[in-house]
Amino acid sequence: MTAMLALELRGLCKSFGGLQVTNDVHLGLGAGARHALIGPNGAGKSTLVGLVSGAIEPDSGQVLSFGRDLTRTSLQSRVKMGLVRSFQITSLFPKLSVLENVQLAVNENTGVADRLWQSMHSLREQRDRCLEILAELQIQAQADFPVENLSYGKQRLVEIAIVLALKPRVLLLDEPAAGIPSTETDLLLSALHKLPAEMAILMIEHDMKLVRDFCADVTVLVSGKVLASGKAQEVMNSASVRNAYLGRSGHDRFTGVKDHA
């Protein structure tokens, strides 16, 4: 059964000096999961993403994907195996065009990036794949624009385009809506809804509306520990979660009483 899980965390622990940032975290995501990771600032969400993506090494515990133990696997190898993360602070190639940003990712993913002696022109297959992704996210009109000239919301879409180009089986979305003006969240949400159904997605997000609209499951992290985990509705309605994190207004936003709180 566990071998079927797209992503499984077993008893992950990490401390920096005397501070225990991740404390015995267990988590399982099946293929096609839409799972939100929420928690107050300093709960250890970003550390957890670091542990899963391979940027940080755990003190103990395991990270598994489709039954393979990736705990000691390098960051690059995890990406090649389909464990991909997006970035909270947009981390693109600002001077390159949108298309080139995606091409970089597609070239790496299809293993042609090492070719010294082939013109970019001749990589028809890679090019088509890029244009396909751009069309899917509706940013094909900006293909030739340098990324730095785009609005912040559009830059997040480029970020997602890059991530898609890596053909992830497990996707870690680190605050995809952070910094996007509310006029552009719909753009993001519709892009997220178009992600392949079989992809397992773990999303860190503060925007409760986005969590409600997108995620079926929620895990609440407080002080490095899992406080609650399960179906979104149940977790959000539990009293301990409301006390620890959501508060009154957060809960209202989730239930949709006040959509624009």
């Binding site: 390159l96 080139e100 970019m120």
Partner: protein, 334 residues
Amino acid sequence: MAAAGSAHGLEVGTEMELNKHNFWRSRVGLLWWLMALACYFIFPDYRGFGASVLVMTLFALSFGLALGFAGIISLGHAMYFGIGAYVAGRLALAGWQEPISGVLISGLVTGVLAIGIGFVILRLSGLPLLMVTMALSVIVFEAANKATSITGGDDGLTGVSFKPVLGIFNWSLDGNVQFLYSLTWLAVVFLFARRLVSSPYGLSMVGIRENPLRMSLLGAPVLRRLVVMYALCASFAGIAGALLTQNTAFVGLQVLSLETSVDVLVMVVLGGAFSLYGALLGAPVYLIVKYVTQQWNPFYWMLVIGVLLMGVTFFLKGGIAGFLSRIFQNRRTE
């Protein structure tokens, strides 16, 4: 459209500017080569000087490729130039006087050397890399100065001679063969470099220059890619050094000096680091201005070069190459 057009988004600012690098891909680039050839016929008395300009242009190209496309900043590139020069010289003294294979062997030696060095130093970038490359080249310079049995020390390697090119063209004092031989090598390396920068590998180099961390998170082996690029550039520098030896039948310590590294940096910045034509424009302008002003006043030429460099840095974004491509672009859109 964009895939090849925006040529790695170098120094792009506005949408209109995006395709300006097509300028250098278009036939306008051919003008440079025609002018170089024209110089051969128009200034027959200066063919020797012309050959040395072409050699330095090739050296500058090798440096511009590393600096502009891969973001490898260095103050020690003369190390490879110099070692290439000495290898060609030692080969000739040992009896290997066939010039073309001599150049290839020199390029191979510096390339292999750079693989070893690159794996260590390319973990650094920016200022620390600049310092380490400078220190390394100073050490090599001093070692060469002391190892008189190999390098001839201060006196240099004299009595170096080579067989005719392709067994037909005899080296002469007027520099005919030197000029055309160097121009041919420059063209070959340039075509290779142009192919390189328009390849997926070239794009990944630009990606590494712009955001190395993200590149590694796309799954790219960043260090290995940089080392390959560095080795290729070192190999081209070694080729340039070997050509210098063959053209002048002499190797002096100067080829390894820090000043030579600085010269090549200035040439590339002057011409424009983000275009292959930057080196092709920067090196001749620098050397010709230097030559002419030295004729005028041997003491003040640095002043002229200094003012020129400041003017270019302040007023011409992207060096001479960037300036020219903007003029061309404006004319076409009007």
